[in-house]
Subunit: 134 residues, 2 copies
Amino acid sequence: MATAENVTEPMASWDPYTRGCPSRDLLDQIGSKWAVLVLGELGKHGACRFTRLRQRLAGVSEKMLTQTLRTLERDGLVRRTVYPEVPPHVEYDLTPLGQTLRGPLRVLTQWSVEHVGEVLAARQEYDVRAEGTA
Amino acid sequence: MATAENVTEPMASWDPYTRGCPSRDLLDQIGSKWAVLVLGELGKHGACRFTRLRQRLAGVSEKMLTQTLRTLERDGLVRRTVYPEVPPHVEYDLTPLGQTLRGPLRVLTQWSVEHVGEVLAARQEYDVRAEGTA
DNA sequence: AGTGGCTACTTACCGATGGAGAGTGATCAG
DNA sequence: CTGATCACTCTCCATCGGTAAGTAGCCACT
């Protein structure tokens, strides 16, 4: 786990339940809407260009895709490779660190797909009860 | 608009990569900042009152805690129990469906705690490179 | 010569979302 | 009749996300 030497302590007291802890921010980032989908897509199909990624993640705006990729790159989860051609050619793929997130995110994604029916049902039930109360 | 068929449908074609798919919304919800922490906390320590929860999730505003709990309740992940006393007494705990999320979320949380050091290091490196470029 | 197209972004604008903090209602202790 | 408790609820403001248009460099077509 200790790959970094000049950085902060190995782990000691990282706790997402503490205000301002970097692990909370990180948890927020990796759990965010577009980051989950970008990482999932790159994990499944390997390296991908900007426009292709944009098509795969139906509904993402260019602004958000750029922003998400920048953050992921800065966090060392995604690698950005530029081929200096015309027209521009840029490819994105997962770093080894990004690879380690594939499992956790796949599990989460699968959960949402598997249980979305139950959740939808619960919502209807809740809404009906709420109307009765109102 | 509540027909039994569209609710109990097993899964068929639910895909978070599709725009407007309920599974994408759900994935977004369960991965959101406060939902992860609320579910994690209720999963670890069991039933909890509002004020106690607010203390444990250092930094959450009352508004967001209320909102998060409402959403989680509506989605059938959290149960809200009111004891009609004065002063008010409300307890929250996980439903069986909520329990099934404990695993996936614990894995994600652990990942962020374990790898936050590497990410912090990557950020520093990125920022140094960016300054050199600028 | 000029127009448009390709690709990967930026930028400007605006409505939606999230956070800080004060207010609310019911009841009882003092 | 003032203050305390608990779980909200409301208001105000800053930040965020989405939409759409602009940018840069080179090429093909007219």
